[in-house]
Symmetry: D4
Subunit: 214 residues, 8 copies
């Protein structure tokens, strides 16, 4: 039956359904978090404000809130399986990158971070090429024209997950330019998630990395 | 240096750069194919017309042309590594699915095909659920509203690569509706390639499956 | 003449023209509400803020304000005719679903609510399948990729009204992804209303349910 | 199980799955049509070319092809349940309207056709107002600015299904203008199907009319 | 030379260049207004906030601010030439309609206002048909699906200027739905200005009405 | 009643409903043309192919076909009322301009044509400035960036009707660039019709010119 | 190697990487600014708020903040190489124009400013034609319909850089109308940068002007 | 006066107005070409078919037609001023690149061509880096995700003109993805022309190169 599947998921990731905080009232998030916590050792919620954390902290003092990624969770970050690298083009892409990285870590992976190596200064990426190439899977986070995904995709053998961000203005159209660029990557072995969807990239990378780690 | 990288790529996939036939003249394709063949045992080209094949056949009688996927190649289909499943929503999605499946096979994978199991008749997918769940990676090919990607994504633990197709009319906007739906999938572990990009999905799946097969 | 038509409408729904609060000043809404109330036993207004309710309450103490659906009305909720089911994909879709459900109830229908049964966990819907199938008409409320409408549409015989919501981010484009997905539903018997238009879905469902109830 | 559902569908509409001809090869359509016919008394296919019909005719001489709606079927048009009216704005909308009307008839309904009564000459609609108002459900088919849906919606009490068509040029954007207009209808009780989707409107109307006819 | 042209413009409308307040700082607006006033008897500015008016009032006590249309001016409203009618679909469209109407009046025309006569209740327009038909030029202001422009256009002989408004939500896309509908009007003799551009519609109507009044 | 209105229209323009040829079959156009001709002295049809004309010619030898504007009609071109000027930016805009000009002439106006005076060579327009300024109404036809409408609008006192054309490529998006530019014209007194809608511009101009000619 | 390139860049422009303030936290900007300043004599940051400046001022009292262009820098404005002209259509375009002009000046150029000469009053530009024509490169800054770029492009021999601005409303779609217009300019010798990207236009112009100045 | 300007243009480029062949009839092109040739030693036309050339050849045997760029001209290609480099990402971009290169040559420049060096195999560009860096101005021609423009922009000091091409499919939207990417380039000193506008890029580059060559 279906319930078995859900159980398997938790077995593997160590998490039940992850709470998506955006578009829910603070009351709803707090209630769902506590309800899930009552039945599960580990709970994770994304897109959480500091206000929600303040309310949870009183009830679950061991809950951890990471303000950069805006993830709230109750789990040890162990990150035992190496193989995932998260790369960003600029400084402004870091919050999305951290949402991806922390998701990977909470799901049991070790993450290598290589930030601010966008294509306008290609030497920054080239200097880290060996580190990049020793990955099982790479998450590339970039806004504006999103060119970094294609460049990384052309330099490595492993699967690349591209995350367009809403960094930019004008004709970036809130991440659309980067999204389209990444979907049209001339490098093969690149797949794309939604704009600013660090969490989705993290899940995908974790599933891939766990295949490698078997 | 960079040339090493390219060499590694060929080592692993068994193919040099894959020729993208669309937007090239027949003359250009024939010339590039023969030139690559002169230096490599295996050559592969996508988006190839029957006319180009007719011209190649005279020069390379052992070249194979698959008219459904429109791929032309000079390699044994061995497909030794199991683990990839290709699923389609409808019959119209099959050409794109075959582009993906044959790409996977040419890169050394064995492919399980489960076609015409779209969400308007969900029992068709449920009947094949065990087969679907025993995959390392799943390629979901769907046009119109692209809902199959989310449904499959919610039923499995492995990475899912979603390929929107241009099947549909009106507000499908040549695949845009399916593309947006797949990017917004509420199931985690789903990443997306360009509309009708079976080749790209095949490359990504092959890279993932080879991680699992190590 | 035309005036007869309007009278008939009131006869049937029990309501005169419904006030659309969005884009009107508070003063305008209060004035129109009181003016309509002076001539009609029942008045209904959608997209109403708590501030407007506070001002109406002093003048019409028996007016009711539902803060979830943001509907203000002066009528008994009786809901005597069964047959309408309102289904949502997630928690974030509930305000729109409540706008639909309360509209149906105020127009004389009984509503069955089945919330948070989106396709990422299909078993939730399957567990309620019997309840869903015993409807005259079903309203499906979903954001992000809007896949639930197609899945429900494939499982039932009755008409389905799909309401895309603006829940999501990035390439959801404020509900556009769900809207396009629903318009391209591969299930037949699905028609769509505007993004977040719970009221319109409720009107349509009520008209359909009253045909069945004759 | 799920198969039961499918069987019920056939019970009610008298048809198994309807073949969607667009995007399939002629060979595929002929094969699927014959295969379905072998197991079902009645078969229906939409978006069919005259060439496909020519090939079917030899094998199934009693098959009927309607060149206006481009529907191919093997069933008596009986249309016993009255209550559906199909209205068009212009002459160019008639093929889509006929796809809707014939779908309704094949599913057991009687259809009243009121064509070429667009809003640029409102008297044409007003002259037929009594006929329009005596419907259980109305399908409004219009391209260009699609205003007819709102006008009809404001004149009747029953549910209205709006079908935008791709008739128009320039800023009609192949039916987008009409689609958006219909989704934003200020008349309540209007729901919308995809551009040129006469078949979908027919299914929805038939489901609604059968509720009334119980 | 060119300067003559400008002078002629002022001759005819009685106004020098009209100040467009949006996107300018308060300081800039005040300065430009005073500078123009120093050289011209009459000055007009659109899209002006109450704050700017407060600052002007101290310096030019006879300046008038109309808070509905957000126009600030220093001129007698005489409105001597009859012939312009301004029609709106709903209550929410009135601010844009007033921007148009006051522009016409300041340029020497008399304006007939017919508000809240949208197509969802067609009888409201029909009751005022004689008044509408006795115009030299009609400005139709409507949001949502903008159908009123086509309906009016089909009922009159004179030129119609359609003003889409940003009233609506979801698939109205901030006025785009109404704009596209109006551009695709099946009634001839309809031309369109920018979304919410009451000022532009007023200028156009005034130029047309002055031709008639010669 | 409504029929009177239609009659009035014919009285004034000398034409009954104008046939829009696009999207109709040749058979339909021929039939409607002959049917209208049987009851009216003058008939006019736009977007007509040479094939349709060939078929009409046999039946109505005095029918005239203008291959540049693709208008077919049975009327004397008299064009007695002066005052309309049609201006184009380039050579490619001439077919649309001729659709506008011939429409004006068939409705009783005299037309001044000033073609190929686009803004990339502004002196061409300046040389004709006196001619342009002596108009009651000006139709500006331009594709690509559509800048000519704003430039003309800034040089004249009379109403300007802007017609965007689909001339261009790439980011002209089939006339969208010119359409948006014209809608955002910084010159006041400019209103816009649909892309390539010479007929609509001609009707609007004719209505305006007849006001002046009273 | 790559590092040499960066050094060359600084050699020429006198600046290391320019900090893009938008989308960074105040803390990040301050830290990066100080870090760059520690290693470079001159530092420049765009899109900076007054709050950030207040914090920098305490640490680097000689830093200069230009509130119109929102640029913060530590360099002498010398502007020794003449040849760049910055032209705007309106007053609202000035902040973007100043971002361009100050960027040019900080990179060693002298800038001629010609503001508020849009096409609705063409004589304003014509009066400055000699000044405009004596440039090596011209930056044209315009919102709304962006027509000024084409008009200037048609009057000069030198390269023109067009900057669309987000000035406008409705169908300007936040600068999209101007962007498309400029990309479709019928004048040759015009290239375009992103909406509101004064900085990018300034860099491009400076690179061009330095070629001329060699 | 204005005519002087035109004369200057010819002086400098050696060409009168360049004929844009697209959207003109063959007759029109032939006539304009011959008319211009009668008054000018050199004539140039873009977007010309082989059919038009066949007709011109009879009348002007010394006219040259380049079938790759589809340019027809009557001039010696001398290309005396070095400094322009044209770079393409792929083979499919070559026709647009040749339109740019030949335009430059016809306007008196020498062109260095570096083709098929896209970012999926970055080493190809790196191997040519010295050649690329010794340019006065670089034209980068790329379709799909257009990333090459940013990569080149980050490696050079001179102005870069980016030309998006319509090479690609699906979410490339006929060049839109590349266009947006190029407009959002994180490298400074990049400006963009219309999709497939090799001619425009050539004109801009020529103007820039002539500044350097003075
Ligand atoms: N069907 C396809 N869709 C997208 N990319 C492809 C396809 N086939 C080949 N490619 C890629 O196109 C590149 C070659 O492009 P080109 O140099 O234009 O032939 C290779 O890097 C392939 O990875
Ligand atoms: N939430 C809603 N969404 C769409 N339409 C609505 C809504 N609430 C009321 N309406 C419709 O808005 C119309 C009244 O609009 P107005 O005259 O602007 O108040 C009525 O015809 C209602 O049917
Ligand atoms: N206003 C601006 N618009 C576009 N790009 C800019 C702007 N200001 C600085 N930049 C560029 O932004 C880059 C720095 O980005 P970041 O690393 O995110 O600070 C530099 O390459 C600059 O050339
Ligand atoms: N391929 C091209 N793309 C864009 N503009 C062009 C092209 N070829 C010529 N032009 C321009 O088109 C104008 C002539 O347009 P027309 O009068 O329609 O022939 C000239 O100003 C040229 O600069
Ligand atoms: Mg950086
Ligand atoms: Mg099927
Ligand atoms: Mg949930
Ligand atoms: Mg008709
Ligand atoms: Mg109202
Ligand atoms: Mg020309
Ligand atoms: Mg100004
Ligand atoms: Mg290549």
């Amino acid at each position: 039956g279906f319930a078995v599947l859900d159980h398997q998921r938790e077995m593997r990731t160590g998490f039940p359904e992850v709470i998506f905080g955006q578009g829910k009232t603070d009351d709803q998030i707090v209630e769902i978090f506590l309800r899930l916590k009552a039945k599960n050792p580990n709970v994770m919620a994304s897109r959480i404000s500091a206000e929600v954390y303040a309310r949870i902290k009183d009830r679950l003092p061991f809950a951890v809130y990471d303000s950069m990624s805006r993830i709230l969770y109750t789990k040890e970050k162990d990150g035992s399986i190496p193989g995932i690298t998260v790369v960003t083009a600029g400084t402004g892409d870091i919050p999305v990158a951290e949402e991806a990285a922390l998701t990977c870590e909470l799901m049991g992976n070790k993450v290598q971070r290589i930030y601010d190596v966008g294509v306008s200064g290609l030497h920054r990426l080239i200097h880290r090429l060996d580190d990049v190439q020793q990955s099982n899977v790479i998450i590339v986070v970039a806004g504006m024209e999103g060119a970094l995904a294609s460049v990384v995709g052309g330099l490595v053998q492993c699967p690349v997950i591209a995350v367009p961000t809403s960094i930019g203005y004008g004709a970036s159209f809130h991440g659309l330019a980067a999204l389209l660029a990444m979907l049209n990557s001339c490098a093969s072995g690149v797949a794309v998630v939604n704009i600013d969807n660090g969490f989705g990239a993290g899940c995908m990378a974790s599933r891939i990395n766990q295949l490698a780690g078997r």
